[in-house]
């Protein structure tokens, strides 16, 4: 008999769990003061670095000067330099 009571009790408990309460919520709306000026200040936390000037020649130069030397060409360059 006690087994029937236990089964009936368990059925009642499970029905309690299944019954979900519903909560109706409105959408959140935040209102600012439209009379204040619309501006944004970003405060730097450190001094901005000076943008680096690029030494283009230093970067590009090595490839162009690291070429084999042809003596004939080199001597021709010396002659035109003298002129």
């Amino acid at each position: 008999m006690s087994r029937y009571y236990l089964a009936a009790l368990l059925c009642c408990l499970s029905l309690d769990v299944l019954a979900v309460d519903r909560l109706e919520m409105d959408a959140v709306s935040i209102k600012g003061n439209s009379e204040l000026p619309k501006s944004l200040y970003i405060v730097p936390w450190q001094q901005a670095e000076q943008s680096a000037l690029n030494g283009q020649l230093v970067n590009d130069l090595l490839e162009s000067i690291l070429t084999p030397l042809d003596r004939e060409e080199f001597l021709r360059g010396l002659v035109s330099e003298k002129q």
């Binding site: 000037l53 030494g55 084999p68 080199f74 021709r76």
Partner: protein, 487 residues
């Protein structure tokens, strides 16, 4: 061109075969004429060699020296940039199997050189490998030098290293310097940075006596300096830049590099010394332009914003002026003014940069010297002048044929040798002249294109400097304004 050449080779074969019986006598007789050709070659009168060889051959004066005369002619063509013609003479001489021993080696060497300048590197390598043990030390050094250039041009860095490691100790001193430099280039390009730099350091440590050696040392030290900058060792690089002579052709880039070395070490005041020296030089030089941009940059770094602003303004004005000048010069060159001026040099007879500068309008002459510093442009110009001289001499040759006619008839009557007729000679000379004139037109167009390409590159560089300078000036004005507000 090939037919005319075969005809001449046939003539020289007949001459050499018919002369064998009386070779001793003929050799004595022909030597003065051959020596005259050598004299023309050594005294730089290349353009006179072709008409002279034609004249001597026609009159049967070269006899035993005919083959040597053809070799001289091939070398002259090569010196004047007429590579196809020169190669064709050498190929025919080699194919005719009339050359032996040292003379054959010499022909292989010049043919390889010819192919190299035509950028036919694989052919050049095949031919140069055929040169045997050249006994003349100077020529052997030149051959070994060419060997490395051919390997390097094909990107065969390991082969270059293997070849030079075995041979560079044998070459004459000045050639040895070139070999060491080229070996270092091969090593650096194949990633052996430390070995390459050790070799360069060694090459740069010797004492130079001649202008060539001193300039070569400048070049080596300049490369060393920039290599060390790339390796982020500015402290060491400065000593190499300081070795470069201040009056030499490499001094501008060395001054720029010395400034960069100090700048990288944050020794800003020291960076100003070489850069301030540099900006007093010719503004057309790109390294001077870079210094003009960097000097105000240094003043900004050390907090002298007022000076920096002033110097940036000066730089912007200079850059803008230079930019406009480049535009004007390019417009003139597009109008063929450069080629028109170069063509005029035929009337002056003298062909060097000063003559060209005198003939040019300021718009063109302004950049001529700078253009000529480019090895491609300079080679094109030299070749153009070589062709121009040849065309001029061939014109004279056409006139000369008339006066040669009696001698030709007399040779034919006395010796029975089948001397070319007046009309065949005129036809040959006219064909040659037409070919040379076509080549001249092509060379003039190439010169124009090359000049435009070089000036366009300068303009691009300058526009980048101009943008950087303007942005820097805006930034400095903002800083000055801020400090005024704060003050």
């Amino acid at each position: 061109m090939r037919d005319a050449n075969n005809y001449i080779v046939f003539l020289l074969l007949v001459a050499s075969l018919s002369s064998t019986a009386t070779s001793a006598d003929n050799s004595e007789q022909s030597r003065p004429f051959y020596r005259h050709l050598i004299y023309l070659k050594e005294s730089g009168q290349q353009e006179k060699i072709l008409p002279t060889v034609v004249k001597y051959e026609t009159q049967g004066l070269l006899k035993n020296e005919t083959i040597n005369a053809r070799l001289v002619l091939a070398r002259s063509y090569q010196d004047m940039g007429v590579y196809l013609k020169s190669a064709s003479i050498l190929e025919d001489l080699i194919a005719a199997k009339v050359l032996k021993g040292a003379v054959l080696d010499e022909a292989f060497f010049y043919l390889a050189k010819n192919y190299f300048y035509q950028k036919k590197y694989a052919d050049a390598e095949n031919v140069i490998k055929k040169t045997g043990g050249i006994s003349d030390r100077g020529l052997r050094s030149e051959r070994d030098h060419l060997f490395t250039l051919i390997f390097l041009a094909q990107g065969k860095y390991q082969e270059t290293q293997d070849f030079l490691r075995d041979n560079w100790r044998n070459v004459l001193s000045v050639w040895g310097m070139y070999s060491k430099f080229n070996l270092a280039v091969a090593m650096l390009k194949s990633g052996k940075i430390d070995q390459g730099m050790t070799l360069l350091k060694d090459a740069g440590s010797r004492q130079g006596k001649t202008l060539e050696e001193l300039t070569l040392l400048d070049k080596i030290n300049q490369v060393m300096g920039y290599l060390l900058i790339r390796e982020n060792r500015p402290d060491q690089s400065r000593q190499y830049f300081e070795k470069v002579r201040l009056q030499g052709g490499y001094s501008n880039l060395a001054l720029l590099g010395a400034g960069w070395a100090s700048y990288m070490l944050k020794q800003y005041n020291q960076a100003l010394v070489p850069w301030e020296e540099l900006i007093g030089r010719d503004i057309r030089d790109v390294s001077v332009q870079e210094a003009m941009l960097m000097v105000p940059g240094v003043y900004e770094k050390i907090g002298r914003h007022d000076v920096a602003a002033e110097r940036f303004k000066v730089a912007i004005d200079y850059f803008q002026e230079e930019f406009d000048r480049l535009d004007r010069s390019m417009a003139l060159i597009k109008n063929n003014e450069l080629s028109a001026i170069i063509k005029k040099t035929v009337y002056t007879g003298e062909r060097d940069m000063n003559v060209l500068l005198n003939l040019s309008s300021p718009g063109v002459s302004h950049y001529l010297r700078q253009l000529n510093e480019d090895k491609g442009f300079s080679k094109l110009l030299t070749d153009y002048w070589g062709l121009q001289s040849l065309s001029y001499e061939l014109n004279n040759n056409l006139v000369m044929v008339n006066s040669l006619e009696p001698s030709m008839t007399s040779i034919k009557n006395n010796t029975g040798v089948n001397v070319p007729t007046k009309s065949s000679l005129i036809q040959r000379s006219s064909t040659l002249k037409q070919e040379i004139d076509n080549a001249l037109e092509l060379a003039a167009q190439s010169l124009n294109q090359s000049a435009l390409h070089l000036l366009e590159a300068r303009k691009k560089h300058l526009s980048e400097y101009l943008i950087q300078a303007r942005l820097s000036l805006v930034r400095i004005y903002e800083q000055l304004e801020k400090s005024t507000q704060n003050g």
